[in-house]
């Protein structure tokens, strides 16, 4: 690609000729002190909270604290280039980021600057970073499924478009893996995905981007990175910036999925800013409005009414707990804001049950509305059965003799747990999930050895894909477990079982 320098020169010439002399009127203040990502500014007497300001080096900031004698500014960028006595200029506008199709497939910082070396973000569409969420009248109930491709989640804690489902667990329990699988599964479904990495090692973000690229998911995904080395203001702004980009699609009738990985680090960045601004600390030294910090963010995920195009933003916030402590401040806050949580446990993870979801305390408050009818029929009661299996299993370890009924319940449970295991980056189609879970819950696996259940499942699904592809199409189209579909599934399972072993 070549640029014609004459052409650019003529553009510049035209601009100079048209340029009329105007007096530049601006409101200014003076930097009193600067450090740790914040600046205290004297002057700027008419600046408004959240307004953008500009430093002489071109770095921008946000008016964060309006005090009697000074203005506290959070600096979005390199604060080392700012000196005491610098003139700060109020810009009279709100922080906004680029949006639209041009951001898809890119890796950006929270201000929309590219980090992937693929050149500038070629768009003229921008959206304000902070926006009040849509109200009651502009919404409709969540009822469209947002398949994650993970059997355990789609069957037991289904997520709908416009829902906010928290992924919570200790470190190294596969929280990010669940979110990445959900993104990978959106391939071909027209859902735009946003992965917001906050306060993470740049190496782990690079791994995520690599995984997304390998699985072909980067074509419809934007990654917003505020790594561990980014200043706290950028980490604080990152989730709002990601949501602003996602909102562009929602308000144009599209669907978006956004992952905040993770919000506990964002809360820590916000705590740092607030303490530096001398706002009074509260519980765990977090400021009093840390709840509002998360609630106003997650309220922006919505399912819009048909009059507004019916677009949606589904969000998967991630929270890291310490030693399974869900009653800490930030986890309880976010649990109370979201519409359910997927709880991942280290002991399950190390026992080889992956995804390591604790079925008993994972819930989805939208429930069956976000499932297709066939899944609802197949998986209904599965959650309770598995929970009672866990109780029985603990009891059975005492070594008591069990009556045959209890024993069969236990055997079914072992097979279901085995069936719900799933490898990473292998999201499953809903029709295949239905066949698998049907085989499990209706007892077709009872005569298969526990350690061969996964082998049987893989074989069965390959068999269906090769021999009966029309059955999968039919399940997807009808989306209900009608008598003839049930018959077809049954016959497929028995034919395959005859050839198995």
């Amino acid at each position: 690609m070549k640029f014609n320098s004459d052409e650019i020169a003529s553009v510049i010439q035209a601009e100079i000729q048209q340029y009329g002399s105007t007096i530049d009127v601006r409101e200014v203040g003076t930097v009193l002190e600067v450090g740790d990502g914040i600046a205290r500014v004297y002057g700027l007497s008419n600046v408004m909270s959240g307004e953008m300001v500009e430093f002489p080096s071109g770095v921008t900031g946000l008016a964060f604290n309006l005090e009697e004698k000074s203005v506290g500014v959070i600096i979005l960028g390199d604060y080392l280039s700012i000196k005491e006595g610098d003139e700060v200029r109020a810009l009279g506008k709100l922080l906004s980021v680029p949006a639209g199709d041009a951001v898809i497939g890119r890796v950006l910082d929270p201000l929309g600057n590219p980090l992937d070396g693929k050149g500038p973000v070629n768009t003229t569409i921008t959206r304000p970073v902070e926006l009040i969420a849509t109200g009651v009248a502009e919404r409709q109930p969540v009822k469209e499924p947002m398949q994650t491709g993970i059997k355990a989640i789609d069957a037991m804690t289904p997520i709908g478009r416009g829902q906010r489902e928290l992924i919570i667990g200790d470190r190294k329990t596969g929280k990010t893996a669940v979110a990445i699988d959900a993104i990978v599964n959106q391939k071909g479904k027209g859902v735009k995905c946003f992965y917001v990495a906050i306060g993470q090692k740049d190496s782990s973000v690079a791994l995520v981007i690599d995984a997304l690229e390998k699985n072909g998911a980067m074509e419809f995904t934007t990654v917003i990175v505020a790594g561990a080395s980014s200043p706290a203001p950028l980490q604080y702004v990152a989730p709002y910036a990601g949501t602003a980009m996602a909102e562009h699609f929602m308000f144009n009738g599209g669907h978006a999925l956004i992952v905040y990985d993770d919000l506990s680090k964002q809360a820590v960045a916000y705590r740092q800013l607030s303490l530096l601004m001398r706002r009074p600390p509260g519980r765990e030294a977090f400021p009093g409005d840390v709840f509002y910090c998360h609630s106003r963010l997650l309220e922006r995920s919505a399912k819009l009414s048909d009059a507004l195009g019916g677009g949606s933003i589904t969000s998967l916030p991630i929270i890291e707990t310490l030693e399974g402590e869900v009653s800490a401040y930030i986890p309880t806050n976010v649990i109370s804001i979201t519409d359910g949580q997927i709880y991942l446990q280290p002991d399950l993870f190390f026992a080889g049950i992956r995804p390591a979801m604790n079925v008993g305390i994972s819930v989805s408050r939208v429930g069956g509305n976000a499932q297709i009818k066939a899944m609802k029929k197949v998986a209904g009661g599965l959650r309770l059965d598995l929970a009672s299996f866990r109780a029985l299993e603990a009891f059975a370890q005492l070594g008591t003799d069990l009556d045959p009924q209890t024993q069969s319940k236990l055997d079914r449970g072992y097979r279901m747990v085995e069936l719900l295991k799933q490898s990473q980056y292998q999201p499953m189609d809903v029709a295949e999930q239905i066949i698998s879970i049907y085989a499990g819950t209706r007892g077709h696996l009872d005569d298969i050895a526990v350690d061969r259940v996964r082998e049987f499942e893989i074989g069965l699904l390959n068999f269906v894909r090769d021999r009966k592809p029309d059955l999968l199409v039919k399940i997807r189209e009808v989306a209900d477990l009608t008598a003839d579909i049930e018959e077809a599934i049954k016959s497929v399972i028995s034919t395959f079982k005859a050839s198995f072993r």
């Binding site: 340029y19 530049d24 009127v25 003076t30 004297y42 005491e84």
Partner: protein, 206 residues
């Protein structure tokens, strides 16, 4: 009349807090007994003609280790008879309270309170060349007509603005300098060129 700009940028929470309180008291005390403008003139001269030229004196007065009786003795010796009695008493009170370190903050607050009381606006005019008297008075007249208030002009010469003038009133800056104009032109041209290149890009892609 040169207002000390650099001390404005020093972050001194104590003098910012204490200044207005003492300044209000001083103005009220002087207002009931005598000529406020004369006292302010003396206060200004104390800061800029004495303290600016004798920083050691200011440091000694601000030093909390020196007993306040000693400071009062020095003040008496230096200013008795030459200074307005109310102002001298005021300085002694400030000294007794151990607030002489905030004296500049008190002066700044007093000056701005006085401006407010008589309806005066302070304007800082920056030019590349020193302004002659005629230009200054015509500028003053224009500004007075504009603000409908009495205008006190402070001038500053800064060759880097190349030409034209910058007028600063409070926190508002009206930038009519050549340097500022060139910067605006640069921004506008870059923005336009960027759009032109983008349009070109999309036509190349299709």
């Amino acid at each position: 009349m040169s207002e000390n700009q650099k001390s404005d940028s020093a972050f001194d929470d104590e003098s910012m807090h204490v200044g207005p309180i003492y300044a209000k008291a001083l103005l009220a005390a002087v207002g009931s007994s005598g000529n406020v403008d004369a006292v302010m003139e003396q206060f200004h001269s104390l800061i800029h003609d004495v303290f600016d030229k004798q920083p050691i004196l200011e440091m000694a007065l601000a030093n909390p280790k020196l007993p306040s009786e000693e400071k009062i003795r020095v003040l008496d010796k230096a200013f008795k008879g030459k200074m307005d009695a109310t102002l001298l008493t005021f300085l002694k009170v400030v000294s007794r309270r151990g607030r002489l370190n905030a004296i500049r903050g008190i002066y700044r607050a007093a000056a701005s309170l006085r401006d407010e009381a008589v309806g005066r606006v302070r304007v800082l005019v920056t030019t590349s060349q020193p302004l002659d008297v005629a230009a200054l008075s015509s500028l003053k007249e224009k500004l007075q007509n504009l603000f409908k208030k009495e205008v006190a002009i402070t001038t500053k010469v800064d060759a880097t603005i190349l030409g034209g003038l910058i007028v600063r009133v409070g926190d508002m800056v009206f930038d009519g300098s050549v340097d500022g104009q060139l910067n605006l032109l640069k921004k506008a041209t870059l923005a336009r060129a960027e759009i032109a290149i983008r349009e070109k890009l999309s036509s190349l892609a299709s």
